[in-house]
Amino acid sequence: MSVDKSGVRQTTWWKKKDVKQTALIWIILTPILGYFSTEVQVRSMGAPASEIMASTINLMRIFTWTAAPVASLVFAMAGTILLSKSFYGNTPPPEVEVGYTNSPRANALWVVVSAVLCLFALVVGMVAVQRDSATLTDATAMEIKVTGQQWVWSYDYTDGSGVRSEVLYLPVNKPVVFHVTSVDVKHSFWIVQMGIKIDANPGYITETAVTPNKIGVFDVRCAELCGLLHAYMQNKVHVVSQADYDAWIKAQAKLEAATA
């Protein structure tokens, strides 16, 4: 309890009812928001099929949990305001003169916490991006040209086999560099479970790389709204063993030669 200049006894700010209510909502909401926001995102992305995706999921968890207290505080304050009595009908309370004060300490705390959070996100994100792009310069990587057009993807294997396919086959644990372009409008090449996504621009070649580390069938989708059948611009990527990949590429090359 404190006394103001006019001699009126004031309750210390953290003992006020609305502050306590806000704090209570904040404490309850933070773990709930952190958990569900993380899990909904992570589960919707599916099990990772590359290190890039694993690190993306990890980043998502860290960022979401870091953001949860901030978002919860905003929601808690909004909730307190929405739940407080604000309509008094014909008996309005006497007007209270509210004194606004400037707190350098609070300002500094706000700026420092925000700056630390931003810096944390920037540094952690850049480390992950840097690690991911190392595959682009891997001399052992295989290279595939990806062409997007309304509303199909096609793949050219540039290993001399002459194979062209509408379905992507990749050997497991082998780095692969994708050279991505479009022959009409903008598309975006996205291998969902491998965590790579890059724009396909007409007249330009963009590059992305990944090392698939799990055998299975995964999804390729277009992530740039590109017209009527954009939602159907999707196909599959088969990640197989090196032996199965060699057999597939041989069979495809044979088929290409037979139908040339």
């Binding site: 739940l83 057009q149 309304q150 509303w151 199909v152 509408e166 379905v167 017209g227 196909n235 139908t259």
Partner: protein, 229 residues
């Protein structure tokens, strides 16, 4: 306060319902109520053994007056269109022979990948009775391309180019008397819902020639459903 809370929740729920309703309406809009079912044609010996055999006969016209829009051509009689329907239904685990009669001309593909016949038995088709494996990219009129989908159903992808009718054979009025007839056979997998579209840029000049007929369902795109035999 309870009244206000109920009001707020009801407003959010009404908004969500409106958006969901709009989404369902848009997703189910086919713009073409007709359906062409494959006709039974006995059995066929295929690389996968003897299978039930069905046939589909479809056409490509330089306008919309002979397709599903009726003789007046509907809202856009000048747009190129497939006919007699743009929605097809074929049985699962069967051999489907599709005959496409192309009455339209053409120019050049955006991507020569689609000049080659893909996904048919042996990667071949017949063009006016002669076996082919591709059509030169600068002589393609249209393609019939069914998309493989990444949604758990069988991967069914095939793409067949239709040779364009030469410009000198295209009459001022009516259709050419010498259309190009392409015949090919595919093998269906399990039940699934697919989308097909033409990969030849035959729309107007906008959106890389993928405007108007190419960007409206039931002209150069439609549904290709594989159903239980």
């Amino acid at each position: 306060m309870a009244k206000r809370l109920v009001g707020a929740i009801a407003t959010v729920a009404a908004g969500a319902l409106f958006i969901a309703g709009l989404g369902i309406y848009v997703a189910s809009a086919k713009n073409d109520d007709t359906l062409l079912k494959a006709s039974a044609a006995g059995t066929m010996i295929t690389p996968k053994g003897t299978m039930p055999h069905f046939t589909l006969a479809i056409q490509v016209y330089p306008d919309s007056m002979s397709g599903s829009k009726g003789p007046d051509g509907g809202a856009h009689p000048g747009w190129v269109a497939y006919g007699p329907s743009t929605n097809f239904e074929v049985p699962a685990n069967s051999a489907i022979t599709i005959t496409v009669t192309n009455y339209d001309g053409g120019e050049s593909l955006n991507n020569d990948f689609f000049g080659k016949i893909r996904g048919t038995i042996d990667g071949t088709a017949t063009l006016n009775g002669k076996k082919i494996t591709s059509v030169p990219a600068d002589a393609v009129g249209h393609t019939f391309t069914v998309h493989g989908m990444a949604n758990g159903q069988d991967e069914l992808f095939f793409s067949v180019p239709m040779r364009a009718v030469p410009e000198e054979a295209m009459p001022e009025e009516g259709y050419t008397k010498t259309p190009n007839v392409t015949v090919f056979t595919i093998i269906t997998g399990d039940v699934g819902e697919y989308i097909w579209n033409c990969e030849y840029p035959c729309g107007d000049g906008t959106i890389a020639k993928f405007g108007n007929a190419m960007s409206t369902m039931s002209y150069m795109s439609g549904h290709f459903n594989v159903v239980k035999a």
